[in-house]
């Protein structure tokens, strides 16, 4: 375990160090102390590393992650694990808005609450939130799954494409072209597996699932051509 103190070490040096490792050989485990809300910690990591950030992290922590297992013990700022490709990014506290934005793979876990636009424009990532999510969760999302163990705010799943939104609590309102779907065996299996992977305790049978109405997929324009 290598400890890096962000009070003493430059962020740029930390990220450059992490970029130089693939996790297969050499150093593998890192503990980052005194993050003090700094932005862009452990972004662009491309290796099987275990990184624990002790405290609160700012915007984009774990951004574009590949393969690494990153944990923030406190809260995180906006754009947690944005465009994540693979690996796991976990926040033990709460996360600000745009959690997992545009993520293409991997798993993002927020043990507390996630703010607005959680999973915005997501493209394949799985997101599990232990608490509540704010408004416009998964706005314009294209692919992947979101699990919300608490409540969802306004306009859940606005303008989504092919993704599943599992919510245990109340949904304040559904967004445009989002509707409740039948929780079939396939969806239940996805949910059960995600809760298990995220190590979040909840009863999958208590969830409802929402998905695309598919009414916005094509313009009503058979003759919009000049």
């Amino acid at each position: 375990m290598i400890e890096i103190d962000l009070d003493k070490s430059e962020l740029r040096a930390l990220n450059a160090k992490l970029h130089s490792l693939d996790g297969k050989t050499g150093e593998k485990s890192f503990k980052v102390v005194n993050p003090n809300g700094k932005h862009n910690i452990a972004v662009g990591v491309d290796g099987e590393l275990d990184i624990t950030i002790e405290g609160h992290a700012g915007h984009y922590v774990g951004g574009m992650n590949k393969h690494a297992n990153i944990t923030v013990t406190g809260n995180s700022g906006a754009g947690l694990a944005e465009n994540i490709m693979s690996g796991v990014v976990r926040v033990k506290g709460n996360a600000s808005q745009y959690t997992g934005a545009t993520g293409r793979g991997g798993l993002v876990v927020v043990e507390g609450d996630a703010a607005a636009r959680c999973g915005i424009s997501m493209k394949g990532v799985d997101i599990v939130v232990g608490g509540n999510v704010g408004h416009m969760c998964a706005f314009l999302g294209q692919s992947g799954n979101v699990v919300v163990c608490g409540d969802a705010g306004d306009a859940l799943g606005d303008s989504i494409f092919e993704l599943n939104l599992f919510v245990q609590g109340n949904v304040k309102s559904l967004g445009t072209d989002c509707e409740e779907k039948e929780m079939d065996a396939e969806k239940l299996a996805i949910l059960t597996q995600l809760l298990d992977q995220a190590k979040i305790k909840a009863d999958p049978k208590k969830f409802k699932v929402y998905g695309p109405g598919r009414n916005l997929y094509n313009f009503k324009v058979d003759n919009a051509v000049l």
Binding site: R12, N15, N40, D46, E82, T102, N218, F219
Partner: protein, 451 residues
């Protein structure tokens, strides 16, 4: 509503010189009203604004006679190189010419057309740019220096491509549709395009109009820092804006940490958007250049943060005029497409079958481009010869440079960057006011002095 110029599209509305046509209710206007009444939806097309706006044609160079000393046309040095990204990037770009190829997506264009643009740019040691579909292997392979766009949709975005790019352009707006996202209709969403964009095949895709993970310039500053961290501070980072509130957009882009700012005027092209958007939103390129340069000068950042101007750049005169107004480089999109063979008379019969004609074709969104350029149909794309297309764009770039050098030498300048506003006059009051250069024959422009 377009100007009544595209007569080939007027169909049954014939020319009648003996009758008086209404200026308000022109045939074009009536045709559009009747189209709207039939279809019940706005018209979507490609290209850019068709309306006439003050443009670089309204400016002239003064050249030299006695008071200025010209350089010999073909012999004396007139350099054309430009460095982009000198502010923060560890690896700034050093291009031989100040004309770059603008972002056009794989999806909007065939892979072959993207390949041709890459070849031309590589041959001239300039850049080509990805688009809203992400980076294709073909264009990375054919482009010596490739700019990766980071757009609101983030289709195909991934850290490997960020690291493989030579520069990164954060697109906040586009001249053809500032405030609007992209559009790619179902006909062009092939298996490969759908896969690159993580979308179901055949849907009508609207890309987002604003970025998903930042709001406003304070966040953009952090976002740019994130991209720099991911790429270890190597790559120049551009911010592209559509010309609208240009002074503030440019100054905020500087504040957010841009190395290079791209300002795209309203004549800039697009693969598809609403006609009403192209014709009624944005600033023409001409005033945008001057506003952007003054915004940089006000911050003491002119030439430190480089300015690339695009939107209706057609020839070497446009290039030289942009540079004289203070741009560091220009970017071409539509001109490159026409050089590739778009709108060639060779395909007139096929354009006519689609209700258009050579010289008028702008239905890029339909994906049936007979020249094989704005299509994803493999049969049509096969018609396009990437090697020949690349050569043609290379020739256009060479010609534009020779023309720009000709004008610069006539003004006594040994580098295109030495051109200055004092080398220009305007032919119209509007152009004089917008470019802030004197109306020809006077020492005055509107807004200067007491008028």
């Amino acid at each position: 509503m377009s100007e009544p110029t595209d007569k080939a599209q007027l169909g049954e509305y014939e020319e009648h010189p003996e009758l008086q046509e209404s200026a308000t209710w022109s045939r074009q206007t009536i045709k559009e009203i009747q189209r709207a009444a039939t279809e019940g939806i706005y018209s979507i097309r490609g290209g850019g604004a068709k309306r006439k706006v003050p443009h670089f044609d309204d400016l002239l160079f003064l050249g030299s006679s006695m008071s200025r000393y010209p350089l010999e046309g073909y012999r004396e040095t007139c350099d054309t190189d430009v460095k982009l990204g000198t502010r923060f990037a560890k690896k700034p770009l050093h291009l031989d010419i100040p004309i770059t190829i603008a972002g056009m997506s794989f999806g909007a264009l065939s892979a072959q057309a993207k390949d041709a643009l890459g070849q031309a740019a590589a041959a001239m040691n300039t850049t080509t740019t990805t688009g809203d579909g992400g980076m294709t292997q073909e264009e990375r392979a054919s482009s010596k220096t490739l700019v990766l766009q980071m757009l609101p949709s983030r289709y195909g975005m991934n850290p490997d491509d960020l690291r493989a790019a030579d520069a990164i352009e954060v697109v906040c707006g586009q001249g053809a549709k500032p405030g609007g996202g992209g559009m790619l209709l179902g006909q062009k969403i092939s298996d490969r395009v759908a896969q690159m964009r993580t979308l179901p095949k055949g849907i009508d895709q609207r890309s987002a109009c604003r970025h998903p993970d930042w709001t406003g310039p304070d966040d953009l500053e952090i976002k740019i820092a994130e991209i720099r961290e991911i790429t270890d501070w190597e790559k120049p980072i551009y911010v592209k804006v559509g010309a609208t509130r240009t002074k503030y957009d440019v100054q905020l882009a500087v504040k957010a940490g841009a190395d290079v700012i791209v300002v795209d005027g309203m004549q800039g092209g697009t693969a598809a958007t609403q006609d009403v958007f192209m014709e009624h939103v944005g600033l023409p390129t001409l005033p945008a250049v001057r506003i952007a340069v003054e915004a940089l000068q006000e911050m003491g950042m002119h030439r430190k943060v480089q300015l690339i101007v695009s939107g209706g750049i057609r020839n070497g005169a446009d290039v030289a005029k942009c540079m004289a107004l203070g741009a560091d480089a220009v970017s071409i999109g539509m001109a490159a497409l026409y050089a590739l063979g778009c709108n060639s008379p060779k395909y007139d019969a096929e354009y006519r079958k689609m209700g258009s004609a050579a010289g008028y074709y702008d239905a890029y969104h339909v994906g049936q481009c007979p020249a094989g350029i704005t299509t994803q149909d493999p049969e049509l794309a096969k018609r396009f010869d990437a090697k020949l297309g690349g050569r043609r764009v290379e020739n256009l770039l060479k010609t534009m440079i020779l023309e720009a050098q000709t004008l610069a030498r006539a003004c006594g300048k040994s580098h295109l960057h030495n051109l200055e506003p004092e080398d220009l006059v305007a032919l119209t009051m509007e152009a004089a006011a917008m470019a802030k250069v004197p109306l020809a024959g006077t020492d005055w422009y509107p807004g200067k002095g007491s008028f």
